[in-house]
């Protein structure tokens, strides 16, 4: 491996999980050994929470209830808009309401295996334990989960698991869970325990004497750059899938909060682990601004196919049965159309690469319900998928009951994120990271309905408990604007903002973002190669250079300036993109969402290399011009045995 791309530093390890007791007791043991903050002291401590998604919203509300002084930040107008709102499918919990053999241990096992053995057992086990409390909490808040006629909660099987452990609220589970957390948060805002900072973007972390002590933020309406101090900082800013420009994330989803924290010393773990979802509505044109996910449940009844011949441009319904290639059924006779996300995505890419894709640009495959409609009748299909079909028709203007849907994979979730220990604390003391922003529980691949579970586990139950061990040493010495570290951070933000505005070149932030995204998709997307990644790194460096010399952002920073917001985010995406490529390049194995063409079985399946890569790659940022430093956290599997996945 070329030395100039990175260097290797000291290994890193979690020291918080009490590994001296069996895994099932570690969480309660950790809580018992952890230190507490007494209620009167809590009132003297301030905690900053960046983000109001499932993770941040639930954390801020819970910490407020506990009596801490919480300052909550988000970039939208209302906390209810965090992108958790868009999650459709459901949330897992080991309730075993179906009496089908589910248990905490099985959920733990499935999640470790689903993560392709690249996650930390202790964290995953805790997640499975806490999952049951989440459902209780949400139901008590009034989350209207689907119910059966007897009035009890309904469950379904999701993402190919053999048990039915997914709780759902029609196709809007994330929305309903988020509103539960949002309402709890608003209640605390009304009670005065949480201070709200709407439309305020975190632009830097303030670190004083090695501890995270606050943030620098910009009020997106007035443009004012302000500082906020606290005894601890919690980051819950969501995923960074928008590095690909097109993804199922919200337009404003960004890496800025975690990237700036990374630049202040927080290690970034497994940045290259990206989940690409197979059933999204394909791209229509180069004006495309985002991609829309269609629930995976569609694959239960839809059949995926492309024409057998390259360049067959007949309308779908004119292609006779024997000239269609139902490639998933052909390649995976036992799982067929229900193979895991990464496999379905990669095979779609393969057939399109062969020139057999359909729709604009040949970037799509058919998802055909003709057979299901014949078998079940149109009313049954309508009842099951009506809202999805409507959504598809709304976006594409085509009637999926008549012509097959076209689908294509899209970037959906980022398993990577800031490195945290068992307490969810980053490598900067006093800075905690929760939700999709951390790397903790999903390894190299996230199972369906597990991100909502993780966000709420972190926010409601884990962080509020673990953070007290840290705060037991507080409150820390007061700091103010005049502290040199604060002055330096504020100046840095001001300078960068000014610089973005003063280049006055010839390209908009969106144009750079699109170019970066295309590059990442092509070379660091579903299939990655040594050569491609090297090329990508070179190109990203060029893009970065051009960005800082040819960017055009109008207006000033003392006002509502959406172009400026975007520019700042793109600047961070460019830097992150490079690290993702470096990470992908260094990991010369395939695992979960990371597929290296060089590492596959003779049948073309992902081939892990446990000998050399059973570790978390935690990256340390280094100043301009120096390669990032890799710290490995070795992964050991005590309870789940390492095994190769097979879906043949």
């Amino acid at each position: 491996m070329s030395l100039e791309l990175f260097t290797e530093g000291e290994p890193i390890a979690d020291t918080k999980a009490p590994t001296d007791v069996p895994i099932g007791e570690r969480w309660s043991e950790r809580q018992f050994r952890g230190r507490l903050v007494n209620p009167t002291n809590r009132r003297k401590m301030t905690i900053i929470v960046v983000g109001t998604g499932l993770a941040g919203g639930s954390a801020a509300a819970t910490l407020g209830e506990a009596g801490y002084r919480v300052k909550s930040f988000w970039y939208q107008d209302s906390p209810r808009r965090a992108h958790s709102v868009a999650a459709q499918g459901g949330i897992n919990a080991a309730k075993n309401y179906r009496n089908d053999g589910d248990s905490v241990h099985r959920l733990f096992y499935d999640t470790v295996k689903g993560g392709d053995f690249r996650s930390r057992e202790d964290n995953v086990h805790r997640l499975a334990e806490v999952s049951v409390n989440i459902i209780d909490q949400c139901v008590a808040q009034g989350v209207p989960f689907a119910r059966e006629y007897g009035g009890l909660l309904d469950n379904r099987s999701f993402g190919g698991t053999q048990v039915s452990r997914t709780f759902y609220a029609r196709g809007q589970t994330g929305q309903q869970l988020l509103y539960g957390a949002y309402q709890a948060l608003e209640r605390q805002i009304a009670a005065g325990s949480v201070e709200q900072n709407a439309r305020t973007e975190m632009l830097d972390l303030i670190v004083v004497d090695g501890r995270a002590r606050g943030i620098v933020a910009r009020d997106l309406v007035s443009g004012e750059i302000s500082t906020h101090f606290a005894d601890a900082v919690v980051i819950a800013s969501g995923g960074y899938g928008n590095v690909f420009y097109l993804s199922t994330n919200a337009k404003g989803s960004n890496t800025t909060a975690i990237w700036r924290a990374h630049k202040r010393g927080a290690y970034f773990a497994n940045p290259c682990y990206t989940q690409i979802h197979p059933t999204c509505i394909p791209v229509k044109g180069d004006y495309q601004s985002k991609l829309t996910l269609m629930s995976e449940s569609l694959r239960n009844d839809g059949r995926v196919w492309v024409p057998k011949e390259r360049g067959d441009d007949r309308p779908a319904n004119d292609i006779p049965e024997d000239e269609r290639d139902y490639y998933l059924e052909r390649l995976y006779p036992s799982f067929g159309n229900l193979v895991p996300r990464d496999i379905a995505s990669r095979q779609a890419k393969n057939v399109c690469d062969e020139g057999r894709g359909v729709g604009p640009g040949g970037l799509g495959v058919y998802l055909d319900f003709a057979e299901a409609i014949k078998r079940l009748g149109r009313p049954a299909v309508e009842a099951k998928y009506g809202n999805l079909f409507d959504m598809y028709a709304q976006i594409t203007g085509e009637d999926p009951y008549v012509t097959p849907m076209r689908i294509f994979p899209a970037v959906h979730y980022t398993m990577g994120g800031l490195w945290v220990d068992y307490d969810l604390q980053s490598t900067i003391p006093g800075m905690f990271v929760i939700g999709e922003a951390n790397f903790s529980d999903h390894g190299a691949n996230r199972l369906g309905a597990s991100a909502l579970m993780q966000g709420l586990a972190d926010g409601y139950f884990v962080l509020p408990s673990t953070i007290s061990s840290y705060l037991a040493d507080g409150p820390f010495d007061k700091i103010d604007e005049s502290h040199p570290a604060v002055v330096e951070a504020v100046q840095g933000v001001q300078e960068q903002t000014q610089r973005l505005l003063s280049i006055n070149g010839n390209r908009t932030p969106a144009s750079f973002h699109r170019e970066l995204g295309q590059l990442m998709w092509d070379l660091c997307g579903m299939e990655r190669t040594d050569e491609g990644l090297r090329k990508a790194i070179d190109r990203i460096r060029e893009i970065r250079q051009e960005f800082w010399s040819n960017l055009k952002v109008g207006g000033d920073w003392h006002s509502f300036n959406q172009t400026l917001e975007h520019a700042g985010r793109v600047a961070d995406f460019i830097e992150l993109g490079e690290l993702m490529c470096v990470d992908a390049l260094h990991r010369r194995e395939s695992c979960g969402g990371h597929f290296r063409a060089e590492s596959q079985t003779p049948e073309g399946e992902a081939l892990r290399d446990d000998e050399n890569f059973a570790y978390v790659a935690a990256w340390e940022w280094t100043p301009e011009g120096q390669p990032p430093v890799l710290h490995k956290e070795n992964l050991e599997y005590e309870y789940v045995h390492l095994a190769q996945r097979s879906y043949k």
Binding site: D77, R80, R81, V85, A86, Y97, I135, D136, Q137, V139, A140, Q141, G142, P144, A146, G151, A169, Q175, Q176, Y179, A184, I189, A190, L246, T248, A250, V283, K284, G285, D286, Y287, S289, T292, G311, D313, P315, A316, K349, C352, D353, G359, P360, G361, G362, L363, I395, T396, G397, Y460, P464, N506, T508, A510, D522, G525, G554, G555, F560, Q562, T563
Partner: protein, 274 residues
């Protein structure tokens, strides 16, 4: 227009229904306003070659890219998820909240318009939703209505086992329907009285239908109604513009339910916190 998403060998566009369509030319009249206290006005823009497959916001993106390149101030508008669920987007399009279809602005597509059309775009207008800039307004009044009682008080960790209280499926489904409100504000924007009744009623209905919501039911409704009045929204006169403009189809029935609960709560002696 054709998209290139990867450098795979590409054949001629395959089975592409819309490939040859020519783009539309449109006249846009957009409300431009520098800030909350500045006077605004409608400004006319011509835009060409708009694909019918574009979303309405993508059309605005195209306009903004052009404005930025010309050194003009791009049009400010709110949006985030662009899939009809966050409730952040929302503008008046030719006098209708979210435009001619009952959906969110981000889910409206340009195929709803035709070549040569003139489109008027304005922000939501209501005292309680001050304009931030151009088409972006401040809807935090909605959050304050929720703060006044739109929740069930259940501190984390105190919840009983989820199956302890069965909920009749019909109630649970009806609660869900009301709970789908995305807080976009189209109801207020469309209402001739600028009333927030549908928004408030959706929450009162959602929580009021569930057994978990009963203990706070009376206080919730009196406080939420008092808050919406305090925010400066208009009163409801049951006209129904709200429900007809609501992208989630929240029904007028929720308003009846709110009224019912409110009158009952007042009779039972519930009074708003001041």
């Amino acid at each position: 227009m054709t998209a290139t998403r990867h450098d795979a060998p590409m054949t001629s566009s395959v089975g592409n229904p819309g490939a040859e369509k020519r783009g539309m030319n449109l006249t846009l009249r957009i409300w431009r306003q520098q800030g909350p206290t500045v006077k605004g006005k409608m400004v006319t823009y011509k835009i060409t070659d708009i694909s019918p497959d574009m979303s309405f916001l993508e059309m605005l993106d195209v306009l903004n890219e052009q404005l930025i390149m010309q050194g003009d101030d791009p049009v400010a508008f709110d949006h985030d998820c662009r899939e009809g669920i966050c409730g952040m987007c929302g503008v008046m399009i030719n006098g209708q909240a979210h435009g001619p279809q009952q959906t969110t602005t981000c889910q409206l597509h340009m195929r709803s318009f035709k070549d040569g059309d003139s489109i008027d775009i304005e922000p939501w207008r209501a005292t309680a939703f001050p304009i931030i800039k151009d088409l972006a307004v401040d809807r935090r009044a909605f959050d304050r209505i929720i703060q006044s009682g739109g929740y069930i008080s259940v501190p984390t960790g105190t919840a009983p086992e989820a199956h302890a209280t069965p909920v009749p499926k019909a109630d649970s489904d009806a609660a869900f329907d009301a709970a789908t409100c995305i807080g976009c504000g189209a109801c207020v924007a469309a209402c001739p009285n600028a009333s927030s009744m549908l928004f408030t009623a959706a929450k009162v209905t959602h929580l009021g239908l569930l057994p978990q919501g009963q203990p706070e039911r009376n206080d919730r409704v009196v406080n939420m109604v008092a808050q919406q009045d305090r925010e400066g929204f208009g009163g409801c006169t049951n006209i129904g513009e709200c429900s007809a403009s609501c992208p989630k189809g929240i029904s007028m029935e929720t308003i009846s339910r709110l009224n019912h609960d409110l009158l009952g709560a007042l009779r039972a002696g519930a009074r708003p916190k001041s």
